[in-house]
């Protein structure tokens, strides 16, 4: 099984440690993983802004770049979801989109493909899980609270493998934090208010860390928390999962 590692642009530039943790996790479980160096961005920022035509060349290149891999794994639920849900739309009429079927968020991959049952390491902290929207509603990392389907949460399943960890979820466990890409700069007032509400609910769990599969949500909340001096830290879920590696 050959896995292509996709480290989306902003993770690359701002949160390389999430990429490193992902690589470590994959290596730990003996996966043959490679990182195609010509990768950049999935194109979601342009698509969500209403310029998906500008994302088309990226989709073409992406599909081509990862052709030789069985899976494409990314430490970013939203970017993985964009490839999975929107690439077929972008490549419509050109050729069959392969990456859409191969793409997985790292949580999904560890949980569903590798089906891991143990992880070394302990994390003696209280964490509040941030169920990011696209992880929940496009990738199915947990059961959307709106639906009447049996509850599950793949992020929590994985975190539970660590010793000494205390896992919480905020009230309104999968309400949006208000990032939404271009939304956060276009609808500033609502976006910030959503972020503040979300941070407060995370803090109310008593957690020291907010963790989730999406660095973009974490970046948004961290930006607000830092500006408003709110007492909580943000860390990508892979960094916790790889704590003993």
């Amino acid at each position: 099984m050959k896995v292509g590692l996709f480290v989306p642009c902003y993770v690359d530039a701002l949160y390389p440690e999430a990429g490193i943790a992902t690589y470590k996790l994959l290596k730990h479980f003996g996966v043959d993983v490679d990182y195609p160096e010509k990768q950049t961005c999935c194109g979601q920022p342009m698509g969500n802004a209403g310029f998906e035509n500008m994302a088309k060349p990226l989709a073409r290149k992406f599909d081509d770049m990862f052709r030789g891999f069985d899976y494409v794994v990314a430490p970013s639920a939203s970017c993985a979801a964009y490839v999975k849900v929107y690439y077929p739309r972008l490549l419509k009429g050109e050729h069959e989109c392969l990456s859409s079927k191969k793409i997985m968020d790292i949580v999904e991959f560890l949980h569903d493909v590798l089906k891991i049952t143990s992880l070394p390491g302990n994390f003696p902290h209280v964490v509040s899980v941030h169920n990011s929207c696209h992880g929940v509603r496009e990738l199915g990392l947990s059961a959307p609270s709106e639906r009447n389907i049996p509850p599950f949460n793949k992020i929590i399943d994985l975190l539970k493998l660590l010793k000494d960890i205390t896992i919480k979820e905020p009230e309104r466990k999968d309400e949006c934090c208000g990032f939404g890409g271009m939304f956060s700069v276009e609808e500033t007032a609502v976006s910030i208010r959503m972020g503040e509400d979300k941070i407060d609910r995370h803090i109310a769990t008593g957690a020291e860390f907010v963790t989730g599969p999406d660095s973009s949500c974490l970046m948004h909340m961290a930006g607000i928390a830092k500006r408003e001096k709110k007492p909580i830290k943000f860390v990508h879920v892979t960094q916790i999962l790889a704590v003993g590696l």
């Binding site: 530039a13 701002l14 390389p16 470590k24 209403g50 310029f51 509603r137 009447n148 930006g223 500006r227």
Partner: protein
């Protein structure tokens, strides 16, 4: 970088307490939805059926309309066909005029809002009296609905109470207890029901096979509206049609559970013909629905049953209020319906979505309004409504991301941005992100660089 919606939303958010209250009010309705949804093991099957029944009916609409109207006509109901709002208003006025009607009581109909019927009739001397309590309150205040199911929910009891005092509807000065105010409205409206010469209802569902007009209310105002006057006019958008009673059971079960979290509306009334000695008219309205039907990307918006669930769950609606949207229907479905109605006029609402897709999962008819907003955004540029700043940013990203070389060079220099003094990043016109966020820090070395240097292990 701001839109019509974002500007109004910013004003709304200035009142922090009211925003909190508005958010919590609608979140509690969303919670009630979840409770009743979880009481039915067949919930997801109902949603799927609702979607499929609507898809079928909408794509066989002309046939079903023929069955429906011949059933109605066989029992003496007079059917009218209105291609747009103007025709609709003229038809209604024509009926009222020929009956010498001066006062018409009316239960809730979003279609009449869509057609702006009330001002049209009022300008021609007809006293139109809304009888749903919320609708009546905003009518007396000269406002428009801020929500399609709970139209006056943005008002506090004091605002309603003071207006009732001014209008002579309530008499105990300073008594703003909702029970008291509701009693006062009951007395006030009872008089109107007794004196009106005509009653108008909307239509939640039209049943083709039987020719039933089905109207759902909690207050019983549609029934009061049609029980006394000798003339009943139904305003009905053609997308309200469903095939039969088996289909109706599906929608009846979903409508109120999604709308208010109740297991049913108090009244689910079926009208097949005029009551003894009375006359019944049904005005069928297209007003752009046939254009929607032909729209390959958005035709499924016609599945909407106007329950309001997408508004209640929408984190943006809850924190910006109905009046931040320029179309008369707010929230996720309102953004869509506004675009279908007049894309140029209502493009300013398309920003009101973080693409969280909660609405897609809550919608009883699987309209997926959130995913549809993504699609609407793609056409803004073609109608000249895209934000030029966003285009520049997207273009910049395209140039950067299309070239791995350029991208990697940028990564090398990005950490220098960390040195921009924080005060400078707060200038919103230069950096909208900085209005509420501290800047994220670029890593000293990107993943790319670390990988190249063999430091990823």
């Amino acid at each position: 970088m701001s839109t019509e919606h974002s500007k109004k939303a910013a004003l709304f958010n200035k009142d922090r307490e009211k925003t909190t209250w508005h958010d919590q009010t609608f979140w509690s309705v969303r919670m009630k939805h979840d409770d009743v949804a979880h009481q039915l093991p067949e919930w997801e099957a109902l949603r799927e059926h609702a979607s499929n029944i609507k898809k079928h009916t909408i794509t066989h609409l002309a046939d079903y309309l023929e069955t429906f109207t011949s059933n109605l006509e066989s029992r003496g109901v007079i059917v009218h066909w209105a291609k747009d709002a103007d025709e609709f208003n003229a038809i209604v006025y024509g009926i009222l005029k020929s009956h010498g009607v001066r006062k018409m009581v009316k239960s809730k109909s979003m279609l009449t809002e869509e057609c702006e019927m009330n001002p049209y009739l009022e300008a021609r001397g007809i006293d139109v009296v809304e009888t749903d309590l919320g609708e009546r309150i905003i009518q007396l205040l000269g406002q428009r609905p801020s929500h399609i199911v709970m139209p006056a929910i943005h008002l506090k009891r004091e605002e309603v109470g003071r207006m009732f005092e001014e209008k002579g509807i309530s008499h105990e000065k300073g008594n703003y207890d909702p029970t008291y105010l509701t009693r006062c409205a009951r007395h006030h409206l009872r008089e109107e029901f007794m004196n009106a010469e005509a009653g108008m209802t909307g239509c939640n569902f039209g049943v083709a096979k039987t020719g039933d007009i089905v109207v759902c209310t909690n207050e019983g105002n549609a029934d009061m509206t049609t029980s006394m006057p000798k003339l009943h006019i139904v305003s009905m958008g053609i997308e309200k049609l469903i095939p039969d009673y088996a289909s109706l059971a599906v929608f009846q079960r979903l409508l109120c559970r999604c709308g208010t979290g109740q297991p049913t509306t108090t009244y689910t009334s079926h009208f097949r013909q005029a009551r003894p000695g009375a006359e019944m008219h049904v005005v069928l309205v297209d007003n752009g629905r046939s254009d929607t039907l032909a729209n390959p990307e958005h035709w499924e918006s016609l599945k909407c049953i106007r329950c309001g669930a997408c508004m209640n769950t929408c984190p943006v609606y809850r924190r910006s209020g109905g009046y931040s949207y320029s179309y008369f229907i707010p929230g996720p479905i309102g953004v869509n319906l506004g675009m279908l109605h007049d894309a140029r006029k209502y493009a300013g609402n398309v920003s009101a979505c973080s693409l969280c897709l909660s609405c897609d999962n809550v919608c009883p008819a699987e309209v997926v309004p959130g995913s549809q907003i993504y699609v609407w955004r793609q056409m803004l540029n073609s109608i000249g409504k895209a934000d030029p700043m966003k285009e520049v940013m997207s273009m910049g990203m395209k140039v950067l991301f299309d070239s791995p070389m350029l991208y990697q060079t940028a990564l090398k220099f990005a950490p220098f941005i960390n040195r921009v003094p924080e005060q400078l990043t707060k200038i919103g016109s230069l950096n909208p992100w900085g209005i509420g966020h501290a800047m994220p820090e670029f890593a000293k070395k990107s993943f790319h660089q670390l990988w190249k240097q063999g430091k990823v292990k």
